[in-house]
């Protein structure tokens, strides 16, 4: 499985927001989104990744990009993770059915959790850029996302 490629329309999917609401393909339309798939809440690399991106959220906002952090963790785990990090990046849970959205985006690890992958979706709902880390232990730098946003 490889992460969804640029030029591909975003597939149908359903994630759960922090408030328990559904988040679907339609919620991505009309603005640029960066989907940050990450393996596990509270893992060290995931900690580092979300704090790194948090640091440059103003720069992302200046590009008109909104980040969403997606994992197969349940909502309470993600909520605790977000609070621990002091993060403002919205968490979307891919817990039920587990990994279905990650799989739809080609970002599901054989172990049943999300790969460490990034997908930039344009306002038209088409994938503009994507990247999957060579391994879940490798952290994609923020520079890669800005390179991807440059391609829009």
């Amino acid at each position: 499985m490889s992460v969804i490629e640029a030029g591909t329309p975003v597939p149908e999917f359903a994630l759960t927001t922090e408030d328990g609401e559904k988040f679907t393909r339609e919620d991505l339309l009309g603005h640029t989104s960066v989907l940050v798939f990450y393996p596990f809440a509270f893992s060290s690399v995931c900690n580092d990744q979300l704090t790194l991106y948090e640091e440059v959220l103003p720069e992302f906002a200046d590009k008109g990009a909104t980040l969403y952090a997606i994992s197969t963790d349940a909502r309470p785990s993600q909520a605790a993770f977000k609070e621990k990090l002091g993060s403002t990046i919205e968490q979307l849970s891919d817990f039920e059915p587990k990994g279905a959205t990650a799989q739809a985006f080609g970002a599901l690890h054989p172990g049943g959790f999300a790969q460490r992958a990034l997908v930039i979706v344009g306002p038209d709902g088409v994938v503009a850029w994507s990247y999957q880390a060579p391994s879940p232990g490798e952290l994609p730098g923020a520079n890669l996302i800005f390179d991807g946003l440059d391609s829009l």
């Binding site: 580092d48 440059v56 103003p58 720069e59 906002a61 200046d62 993060s87 890669l144």
Partner: protein, 216 residues
């Protein structure tokens, strides 16, 4: 309701950013070349290693321990992420302020060797022990130019692909994590033996010259 972007949370409250404060190009770019303002220590002919690090990072403290006695010319750059640790930027700024009074490396070493004591009272103790002008230290570490320098180095690292600390840059190779024995051995093995031979030859030449003078 949050204010319109760009904004960030500070101490639990949304803060609207001054546009000049955050607009920056973060696309990929090579690591910035060394400049006069960089902090570098080690012999000029030792192999150069650039380290992006953070004084709150335990792995960086480990890197410091492993590199301290190595024959490596080390250039230190800040990678201070406020979102990761509330003391990351203040400690980086403190080190820069010490550097403004010629004591960057001394405070650098003190911070890594005593990581449990980095609150302001301990910074003041370090500053006093180093003989710093405390008033100037306080002004400098809170100043906009110092904070901007830390920010610039951090963002320069981000553009080069630095994502974690420590990250080491040797030539064009970027390695995340503390240096292992293999890396240090490989780097220090590149020290040129002719440097030693030249000194020996100079001594021999000096002896030959003195003998020639004596025989004249």
């Amino acid at each position: 309701m949050h204010p319109p972007a760009p904004w960030r949370m500070r101490q639990g409250e949304p803060e609207l950013l001054n546009r000049q404060e955050h607009v920056s190009d973060l696309r990929s770019a090579p690591p910035p070349p060394l400049e006069a303002a960089d902090h570098v220590r080690g012999e000029p002919d030792w192999p150069l290693l650039v380290i992006y690090a953070d004084f709150t990072c335990p792995r960086c403290a480990l890197a410091h321990e492993r590199l301290r006695e190595a024959s490596i010319r080390l250039a230190f750059r800040h990678f201070a992420i406020a979102a990761k640790h509330p003391r990351a930027v203040p400690l980086a700024a403190a080190a820069e302020a010490a550097g403004a009074q010629g004591r960057f490396w001394e405070l650098h070493d003190a911070l890594f060797e005593d990581p449990g004591h980095t609150d302001d009272p301990y910074l003041w103790e370090h500053a006093k022990a180093l003989g710093l002008d405390l008033d100037r230290f306080e002004r400098d570490r809170r100043s906009a130019p110092v904070r901007e320098r830390v920010r610039e180095q951090t963002r320069g690292g981000m553009r080069a692909g630095v994502a974690v600390t420590p990250t080491l840059i040797e030539g064009r190779t970027i390695v995340a994590g503390p240096p292992d024995a293999e890396l240090i051995a490989r780097l220090t093995a590149t020290i040129r033996v002719p440097t030693f031979r030249k000194r020996t030859e100079s001594a021999a030449e000096t002896q030959a010259d003195r003998k020639a003078e004596h025989e004249q």
